[in-house]
């Protein structure tokens, strides 16, 4: 089953001469473990698409389905519940709660899912470790962590509780080149363990980590790379290892 199904979704803001079409009939399906990058310049509709995908906003036309379930009939509480169960968000800033330790930030997401505090803490530590953060870092407060470490905590929090969809909006914008690369590698790893990832970016270097890259221009899909070609990469031939 598709994790995310965006079906001819449109989003219009304002009316009359102030009417702005942010998205215009966009269709996109994302399967489990698939990594899709949405590329386009500022104002092309990337963030709007991500907000619709995560149920943070509703389309003015078309439909958005999460794990086969149409979000349209849900009231605000229902929408929040669907978000919490299925979707993790990752932004340019990690947005961690400053008065909780790294591990507590992650554990909180699990506790909201109904996991008991002790088990939530254990789960949080395990997740942080899988993302390369040692126990000592888990006990620190966000202000005591580097930008790259904070973003790792944010990834752990976003995927905690087995959320099936991770929506990332320029998550490496505030990081240096190599740390940004590490974060992209971690997103790739989450995909390989079954989580679907949709990344909005204007950076082609980051988009290249995805299985599929779709291009947005003026709120419309203007092209895509299609699924990755099989083995037989342009550089592999003849290389002796």
């Amino acid at each position: 089953m598709t994790v995310l199904d965006i079906d001819h979704a449109g989003r219009v803001f304002g009316s009359g001469h102030l009417r702005v079409v942010a998205l215009d009939g966009v269709t996109l399906q994302v399967g489990p473990g698939e990594f899709v990058a949405v590329m386009g310049p500022s104002g092309s509709g990337k963030s709007t698409l991500l907000r619709l995908a995560g149920g943070l906003d509703r389309p003015t036309s078309g439909r958005v389905l999460l794990a086969g379930r149409d979000l349209a009939p849900l009231d605000e509480a229902g929408l929040a519940e669907a978000r919490r169960r299925q979707v993790g968000f990752l932004f340019q800033e990690a947005n961690l709660l400053p008065t909780l330790t790294a591990a507590e930030n992650v554990a909180l997401a699990l506790e909201l899912d109904g996991v008991r505090p002790k088990a939530a803490m254990a789960g949080a530590r395990g997740l942080l470790e899988s993302l390369g953060l040692l126990a000592a870092a888990g006990a620190r407060f966000p202000a005591q962590l580097s930008g790259g470490e904070q973003q790792r905590v944010a990834i752990a929090r976003a995927v905690a509780g087995g959320r099936s969809l991770l929506l990332a909006d320029e998550p490496t914008g505030a990081l240096d080149v190599l740390t940004g690369e590490t974060v992209m590698g971690l997103l790739r790893q989450r995909c390989d363990s079954g989580c679907a990832v949709v990344l909005a970016t204007h950076n082609i270097r980051h988009a290249a980590w995805a299985d599929r890259v779709v291009f947005l221009s003026g709120g419309r899909l203007s092209g895509e790379t299609g699924p990755p070609p099989g083995p037989g990469c342009l550089l592999e031939t003849g290389r002796t290892r």
Binding site: M39, P41, G185, R188, H202, N203, I204, R205, A207, A208, W209, A210, V213, F215, S222, G223, E224, T225, P228, P229, C233, L234, L235, E236, T237, G238, R239, T240, R241
Partner: protein, 198 residues
């Protein structure tokens, strides 16, 4: 690309046969710059002539090459000197876009988008190789792949810029046309308004 200095660098690690040098060069650069064996022997011949390498014939009758002190000096000078930037590198893509615009024979935006898709595909391939290189801890190969990634990124950013300029041009053309239309309407409406007050 300096084949000459690359061969000296390979020989600085120990004596080698010509064919071995070709294979090592291609392994180090992942076939990005394939060398033909003739090119290798011509370069080795010049290096020998210039006293940078010496050649001995081994038991199988094959020439084995060894770097000399002047060769090491030349190699050190290469590493110590920054690579000069080509003043006008011949870039097929830039030339293609310039002529697409000037000739009006192609949809420039479509040319840009096709190139962007191709660039992303190439980058996806390189990124997959990087993941493998990272796992095997081959840092020299990773640096080589990084170089390809950033070249592709530069190209893509330039394409973004082209597209943005084309879009801006389109907006100002549309705006100018609308202004002209409004002006014409105004001229047409003014006498009508005068008439209505009469």
């Amino acid at each position: 690309m300096s084949v000459r200095h690359s061969l000296l660098a390979l020989l600085s690690a120990g004596p080698m046969h010509g064919y071995g040098l070709k294979t090592e060069f291609e392994a180090a650069t992942g076939d990005v710059w394939p060398l033909n064996v003739g090119q290798v022997y011509t370069t080795l011949g010049r290096l020998e002539r210039d006293g940078m390498v010496t050649a001995e014939t081994d038991a199988d009758g094959q020439k084995i090459y060894q770097i000399t002190d002047p060769g090491r000096g030349e190699l050190a000078r290469w590493f110590d000197t920054p690579v000069p930037r080509e003043v006008i590198p011949r870039q097929e893509l830039a030339i293609k876009l310039v002529f697409a615009m000037r000739s009006g024979a192609a949809d420039v935006t479509a040319v840009v988008q096709r190139q962007r898709v191709a660039t992303v595909r190439a980058l996806q391939d390189i990124t997959r190789l990087k993941t493998d290189a990272e796992a095997s801890g081959d840092t020299a190969w990773l640096l080589m792949l990084d170089a390809l990634v950033f070249q592709a990124e530069a190209e893509a950013r330039w394409l973004d810029m082209c597209e943005a300029r084309l879009a801006r041009e389109q907006v100002s053309t549309d705006l100018a046309r609308r202004r002209a239309e409004v002006q014409q309407l105004g001229i047409a409406a003014a006498p009508a308004a005068e008439r209505s007050t009469e």
